[in-house]
């Protein structure tokens, strides 16, 4: 990698980051909230990119990790008073990681489409449990809870304003991006990419690919859970709809639209999708998905590398 390209990359990174930091001060309330939402869905899509783009496994089960993150955070916020952000994070991540470990253990035995189908069905297991276990999860009605203050115990504690919430989300998403980028460039990430390129050869070289795949799914699930916690903090409610497999499908759509294997692509895809939904739903109310579906099909056929696919190599350097 040349030095100049590194400079360009980091300049670009900080310009985008700077714009996102200023945004809540400039944008009206609706669009600020919208931007925060994009960042959260973007983090979810980015977590899925570890599997789709870097390991070559399409997960249709990310709604389970995301949903468990939400419900884990909800459990922490409802049972402990006063609500603690740190505890919510911890519970959400533990719940998502546990779900991811469970799903990973079984589904990594299978490859390609079988992996996709089994992750889908596993996410439905969590959906059915959450939907029917009304006493604990609130069933169809879901749970509502209050937002915790932004606090580190013993040091400081402030209430979230819309602006600080946005910055908090931006901080978490930004750090996650840097961390995931570092991971994909680490030796571990290289093994994942080599599994994507040629699984048999990677095995032949002597890597225990099953273990690598399990870790990849868990890592991905962990970040999906993190997105879930952020979503819980932002919207203060949990509903079984978030665990339903349609959410996983949307996550895959974000990835394909934005460009898999780029990490930022999925965020762009999420932004594109949400903007499209916002624009179309003003004209077509709930039928906007017809057009989203058509655009998605067209992209799968004609632009399979996605919006940022052209920059894929550069973004990974």
């Amino acid at each position: 990698m040349t030095r100049r390209r590194t400079t360009v990359y980091w300049t670009g990174f900080f310009v985008v980051l700077g714009l996102l930091i200023i945004a809540p001060l400039v944008l009206p309330e609706f669009w600020r909230r919208f931007l925060t939402e994009i960042l959260i869905w973007g983090l979810l899509a980015m977590s899925s990119d570890i599997l789709i783009g870097y390991t070559g496994m399409v997960s249709f089960g990310h709604s389970a990790f995301f949903g468990l993150g939400i419900y884990g955070a909800a459990a922490a916020l409802l049972s402990v008073s006063p609500p603690s952000l740190l505890l919510a994070l911890l519970c959400g991540l533990v719940a998502a990681a546990a779900a991811a470990a469970f799903v990973a253990y079984f589904s990594t035995r299978l490859r390609d489409i079988y992996f996709a189908i089994t992750t889908l069905i596993f996410s439905q297991i969590f959906y059915v449990i959450i939907f029917t276990w009304t006493e604990v999860t609130g069933g169809e009605n879901g749970l509502t809870f209050s937002r915790p203050p932004l606090a580190i115990p013993g040091i400081f504690s402030i209430r979230f304003t819309p602006d600080t919430l946005h910055w908090f989300v931006l901080g978490v998403v930004g750090l996650s991006y840097l961390l995931l980028r570092r991971i994909t460039q680490s030796p571990f990430g290289m093994v994942l990419q080599s599994i994507r390129e040629n699984e048999a050869r990677t095995r032949a070289i002597g890597y225990p690919i099953e273990r690598y795949k399990i870790v990849a799914v868990m890592l991905s699930g962990l970040f999906a859970g993190l997105a879930g916690v952020l979503y819980a903090v932002q919207n203060q409610f949990a509903a079984p709809d978030f665990v339903f497999f349609l959410v996983s499908g949307e996550v895959v759509i974000f990835n394909v639209i934005g460009g898999i294997g780029t990490l930022v692509g999925p965020i762009v895809g999420a932004a594109f999708f949400l903007l499209l939904r916002e624009g179309l739903s003003r004209f077509f109310t709930e039928y906007y998905l017809i057009f989203v579906g058509l655009i998605f099909i067209a992209m799968v056929i004609f632009v399979p590398q996605g919006l940022l696919g052209f920059a894929r190599r550069w973004l990974n350097e």
Partner: protein
């Protein structure tokens, strides 16, 4: 907890009836997968649209059987169109892209149905309402007829695959696409035909199942998930395995709903899936050819 033997027998009948419909849905899915490595996410939507077309034609003609045949043909045509427009360009690419494309199709079809027919469930009248007494329960004949009819359709499919010219072509294409092409079999049309047949079977099961529950735009989702489980448990691309798995899983769910609510009984089929993946990852009933 004592469960009377009559109830167990009733649930057995119920399980076999749902199992036969599920087998009809799943055999189309597995046929499509077996021949072209396409995981058809939109299969449940074809099932749902079939039921809707059935509703419309039933309202127009008043004859259930005409509705059944017409819905099958219409959806088979739709299937062929979908195949030609969206799946054929993806042929030869990673099968994962076909999942994505069919997922898009399912979004489009499902929301089209919501837009066109509204969120209120429609009802298909049963073609006949006779009942017979099964222990203390008045059991509708129609359910038994569904099971028999599904079995007949699957049997016809089997005969067609075994002896029909196109059936032989389909099997040849399944074994070796390139060789089949070299032998002069019109492979592109065979693939289109298979997709149309699978779509038609899904539509037929939709019309048959319509009278038991309401017809609404989201009804396909449950079925496609169940069919996926069946197809994985039975071994993907394995027709006989899917049929056996469909009945097996439906029976288990029927028995489980003696103890828990039907919504929770679904978990039983998930457990079967997990156990299958653990011990027989290529399918429960017969080894898969790959």
């Amino acid at each position: 907890m004592g469960i009377p033997i009559e109830q167990i027998l009733i649930q057995t009948v119920n399980g076999v009836v749902t199992g036969m419909i599920l087998a009809l849905v799943a055999s189309g899915l597995t046929l499509i997968f077996g021949i072209m490595d396409v995981v058809n996410f939109a299969h449940g939507e074809l099932f749902m649209l079939g039921a809707y077309v059935g509703v419309i034609i039933l309202a127009a003609t008043g004859d259930f059987w005409i509705a059944l045949v017409a819905a099958t043909l219409v959806i088979a045509l739709l299937g062929a169109t979908i195949y030609l427009t969206t799946l054929r360009p993806l042929l030869g690419r990673d099968p994962l892209y076909t999942i994505l494309a069919t997922f898009g199709i399912s979004l489009v079809l499902q929301n089209y149905a919501l837009w066109q027919f509204g969120p209120v469930a429609r009802k298909i009248e049963e073609p006949f309402t006779g009942q017979f007494t099964l222990f203390y329960l008045a059991y509708p004949w129609y359910r038994v007829v569904i099971a028999l009819l599904s079995a007949a359709i699957i049997g016809a499919l089997w005969l067609f695959l075994k002896f029909g010219t196109w059936g032989i072509w389909i099997r040849a294409t399944m074994q070796d696409r390139v060789m089949a092409q070299a032998m002069g079999i019109p492979v592109p049309w065979v693939l289109t035909a298979v997709f149309a047949i699978g779509a038609g079977m899904a539509a037929a099961s939709g019309v048959l199942f319509g009278p038991l529950v309401g017809v609404n735009h989201a009804m396909g989702v449950d079925w496609v998930l169940k069919a996926f489980i069946v197809v994985v448990v039975g071994g993907m691309g394995n027709l006989a395995g899917s049929i056996a798995a469909a009945i097996f899983i439906s029976l288990l769910e029927a028995y489980a709903s003696l103890w828990v609510s039907p919504a929770q009984a679904v978990i039983v089929s998930f457990i079967v899936l997990i156990l299958t993946l653990l011990f027989r990852p290529t399918g429960l009933f017969a080894p898969t050819p790959k």
